[in-house]
Symmetry: C5
Subunit: 323 residues, 5 copies
Amino acid sequence: MQLISYDKDSAELRNFDKIDDVLSSIEAEKFNWLNITHLPSAEIVGFICKHFNIHSLWLEDILHLEQRPKMEETEETILFVINELNINELNKQIRKEHISILVGKNFVMTFQQEGEDLFKSISKNILSDKGKLRSKKSDYLLYLQIDTVVDNYFEVIEYLREKIEILEDELIDNKKVNAINEIHSLKKEMNFIHKSLFPLRQAIFDLQNLEHHLIHDSNSVYFNDLADHIEHLITLFDSFREMLTSLIDLNASNISNRMNNVMKTLTVISTIFIPLTFLAGVYGMNFKYMPELESPYAYPILWSIMLIIASTSLIYMKRKKWF
Amino acid sequence: MQLISYDKDSAELRNFDKIDDVLSSIEAEKFNWLNITHLPSAEIVGFICKHFNIHSLWLEDILHLEQRPKMEETEETILFVINELNINELNKQIRKEHISILVGKNFVMTFQQEGEDLFKSISKNILSDKGKLRSKKSDYLLYLQIDTVVDNYFEVIEYLREKIEILEDELIDNKKVNAINEIHSLKKEMNFIHKSLFPLRQAIFDLQNLEHHLIHDSNSVYFNDLADHIEHLITLFDSFREMLTSLIDLNASNISNRMNNVMKTLTVISTIFIPLTFLAGVYGMNFKYMPELESPYAYPILWSIMLIIASTSLIYMKRKKWF
Amino acid sequence: MQLISYDKDSAELRNFDKIDDVLSSIEAEKFNWLNITHLPSAEIVGFICKHFNIHSLWLEDILHLEQRPKMEETEETILFVINELNINELNKQIRKEHISILVGKNFVMTFQQEGEDLFKSISKNILSDKGKLRSKKSDYLLYLQIDTVVDNYFEVIEYLREKIEILEDELIDNKKVNAINEIHSLKKEMNFIHKSLFPLRQAIFDLQNLEHHLIHDSNSVYFNDLADHIEHLITLFDSFREMLTSLIDLNASNISNRMNNVMKTLTVISTIFIPLTFLAGVYGMNFKYMPELESPYAYPILWSIMLIIASTSLIYMKRKKWF
Amino acid sequence: MQLISYDKDSAELRNFDKIDDVLSSIEAEKFNWLNITHLPSAEIVGFICKHFNIHSLWLEDILHLEQRPKMEETEETILFVINELNINELNKQIRKEHISILVGKNFVMTFQQEGEDLFKSISKNILSDKGKLRSKKSDYLLYLQIDTVVDNYFEVIEYLREKIEILEDELIDNKKVNAINEIHSLKKEMNFIHKSLFPLRQAIFDLQNLEHHLIHDSNSVYFNDLADHIEHLITLFDSFREMLTSLIDLNASNISNRMNNVMKTLTVISTIFIPLTFLAGVYGMNFKYMPELESPYAYPILWSIMLIIASTSLIYMKRKKWF
Amino acid sequence: MQLISYDKDSAELRNFDKIDDVLSSIEAEKFNWLNITHLPSAEIVGFICKHFNIHSLWLEDILHLEQRPKMEETEETILFVINELNINELNKQIRKEHISILVGKNFVMTFQQEGEDLFKSISKNILSDKGKLRSKKSDYLLYLQIDTVVDNYFEVIEYLREKIEILEDELIDNKKVNAINEIHSLKKEMNFIHKSLFPLRQAIFDLQNLEHHLIHDSNSVYFNDLADHIEHLITLFDSFREMLTSLIDLNASNISNRMNNVMKTLTVISTIFIPLTFLAGVYGMNFKYMPELESPYAYPILWSIMLIIASTSLIYMKRKKWF
């Protein structure tokens, strides 16, 4: 647990192990940001909620990892729940992290599911007084935090774009025999992102239109910017969806093409040799009276006929572009 | 029929057989919850409706098992009709139960279709004074009841997820030859859920936005929570729908693949042996003058030619990745 | 032409042949319901419209059989146009009937296209004073009439459900070779219903939200009930649409399956016999020097080789689950 | 150029060649309808616009043949741009005509692209004082003109219906081998109609909701009627779209069926004769020691065996309904 | 950097290299248009923003090439971001250019990404006092600039239409074996346009509905015109989308057709010759007692039988329209 207390002139970062110490260290005349980077136990969150007079249903929202992104407000506080997405470096899979941001008059509390502190750069900036952050109110801190998460979405979308483009090239160059499993797994990943991205858009939209004493009119440009970014993400997301649909058509067409090629080979071979084999069979019969068999020119003549038949077939099929 | 009468200090549970006894036992100064766990006869419901001055059309809504979920209100009462879903343990099928909740100033009436009492835990909590339930008004009881039903939807959705994931694994691993019947039956189950889930969302939305003296502003956080849960359900439901569409593509692709494999085998065998059979046929002809037949080396030479033809074909098809 | 004049105390049914007689028989102090069961000539309707001061465009709406369902209102009258649907008992096809209801302060006029009187039970109830109908205003009569039509829609939907379920069973059990024509004809029937059902929903919605002195607030519960029924119809209708889409997939999959089976049979037979026929061809050749031909064991040895080849192919294809 | 000047008592039709003459002939105390049946030059329209103080952008709308249907208004005038559709009698194709209607206080101007005068019957009616047209204001004339165009849409839709139904019958009776080109060309025609029909709906909707001193409340029933007609057109249009989608399924299914039939024939022939040919090949071998060859019954026995094999295959395939 | 300062009487064009010089040259009593045709460095834009008191987030919007089209406003300025599209003459590909327009009371600033000056004709017109441009306010200049961009969209759409129509002809005439790659690449291009076109529509819609002292009511006709154009573009765009879907069906049908033709050829050849080969095989057997072999008429009789079989098959298949 990390508590950053700051006002225009000073900023201090303290680490705590016990929630009691944190709460007693909160300075009323300063602005306090409590950043918890591992999702704490229900008790601790309950303790905090009690301290700040927060409804037990919000407590559940903070603790419940499957909670959908949303924005909730009361007279005194705003709760913003968000799913951060990132790419796991090890297995190259998309990973979801549940983050809750609780905003009050002179405090912001962030609850991160686990792992690295996502908001490291923000706290650095506060401590080093970069970006005039210290003089801003809690809504600006909220904006910075949401913006950090939204930026990570762009990385995930970029990662998806690369995968789709590689697949697309393989399908156009006909390298992949059947890419349906890859397409399906991409669809699943997009489904996974969808479940976080679209509620987030709603939450940001709610925030943008919220009339609340904690949200200052002068900062509306920031929330408009967030809304703009999320719309951009959704445009990209939708274009990927169209791409995948097109890739399915491409894949189906490739499979049909291969089938066609196989069938054409079979047909070419059969069309040439089946009639010839019949002719050979005819002159293999054992009838007593078969006048052709006696002639000394019969054999070369038959070969000539066979060659004519075969080449006629070949020309016919060549014209039909079967090979 | 079960009547729970309670106020802040006391709570009493009584069971009745006759509706007259119930109505005469309702205590005006207490809060009364009448819980009927088997859908009663039209007469009894009519009797109750008359007693509480309820419109005969509501009577129909309570009795009609195919009634869509909805919320209705008059000056004095609110009717909430809901379809509870659960998994039948025996045949593993989704079962629908019609439940009506009638809310008045100092009473709540619940009509369950049949079977186990769904609200057992709520009545237990009232009797044991857990959860400060006794001091809350009728809208909180309504919330608890709807919440119980919504929680059951999550179980049904979870059960569906499992079925879809098993099917998905089978299709990706190519274990199932043709899963279209399974996909179709899943679609039917989703259709079945859809018919209960989407009207329920509308009903909860109506309840959330209802301005009524029975719904207290302080409890709006609970109805928001319900709306949040139902949105989460719908997000999951929609993602399943996309999954199923993707599984249909996967299935179609698997079928095409099998077909391709069958055709390739046919083509490989035919392409190799049909020309050879033709050659054998040629030297089986009975022409008198076939110079090749006389040569002692002709037979092994022909075998060599045949081997060359066969291996050339094999190499060609191997390169085309036909086997 | 049937005229029912009633007030709280009395009700009288009279049949007329001439429109003049009807109009002169209308009693101002009573409530009058003029029920015309065969669409009258343009003259008669024109005569009525003139008498009640109704716009000539409404006249067209009443007479035009292809008129879409809709609700229109003026200061003094409401026009409700509706398509009644029913199943023709003879050819089991869905039949559409154009019905117009014209509502004024002390009269209701119903124009039915032809055939049986759809509102027979309502007039019976009025005459026998059942259902307290006589004391209600014209909007209640309108409700009863629309409700009768909506109930008939449920029958048509039920009839459709049966047809879809029979088709579904046949497709799942693979009894039908190709059900695309049946699916197409079901789609056409749904298209036909769609054209009546969706405008009806809009008309009922308009009626529900209409502020008009002829529509009394106390009766809004009835129009809500109508809206509820029509929503239920639309939910069912949409679920049928999804079913049909799923049946098309099922059908396509069945066709593919059959094709697969045909191709597998061809491949199995060809794979076994084409190599054997080649071998037989080899030993049918007439080369002078073919050492194998002389050996007395050659023939049984060749048979053994052939059997080995055939059974190896069979085992291979069995493992691939081709038969 | 045709100018009809009329008031309640008189009506006069004059033809002009020069725009100056027209403008000087307009009588302020009468109502004037200027009907231009060939799209005039930019100069003439510019001249008119200048005369009536009309914005140059409207001038462009009037002259630009690809202008989308729309409704525009200023304080003093209303511009209604519309695409009239009709069937070219010669090549049976749908033809689009660009029509602009400019409505002012005491004048209406209609600009038709070219060809026959579409509004001939309206001008006849004015001149012969039919339909009490002369006493109506400019909005009624506008209604009549739009109504004429909308009526032509019904003819085009009817023409489309016929084409779709013919195609449908051919597909159901399996007469057409592949109707995809016809379906595609129908889709193109619908696309063509769509581009005119849907903006027209919006324009009529705008007109219906327009509050303007030129549009009188008493005429709203006419504009409602137009809106009703256009909704009817759109319902029909949408049902055709569904039909075409269904026809594509039908067509694809027909193609699959034919393919199936071809493959079945191949498989039936191959399954019967390939094993028999093998047997014939065996007894065509030249081994010295083949005991069967010596027996006098061998030949008929072999025929019997062959017949048994062939008929067994036939029965098997018959049972599988392959022919 | 180009600065055009003008009032009703005069207009002057000056080119600058340094931003300081530009800003000091801006004349307060004139109207100033600063046109920057290569996207300047962040510093310069930052400098300008500081000078005109513009928020740093707008600075980002101006510099960020991937910024979505949008409209933003403050009390004093309006920012319009737009993606201009054009066809690269060299590689015939669609090229996107990021353009920002910043509008203030007496100035307009345009930032073009690079390349040719898109607004050359507008500045010419100002300098030559064509189109009464000089007397109009900044919103009219904004209109002209957006209109220039929208006109370029029409060219891109036209270019797309040509490509689609060529592809369509090839598919209908069956010239292309498989056009799925071309269709896919068209889809990608449409996707690319979509990402610029739809946000632009929203931005123009926002501008049309904007109440701002910089946007004069008298110019609303221009913004309506823009909205009209963009709707026309979207109608065309949507119709192309439908076309492409139809082309995919056409393409799939063509592939099926070719497959069908290949299979039919195989089946025709096989159906004719396989039975004949069997017959030839029978009379090639070496049984001692085969009475037919002895007859002098057997050989011609067999040929006759074979011809009858072959022609019967041919007639049968001809009737089935297999060739």
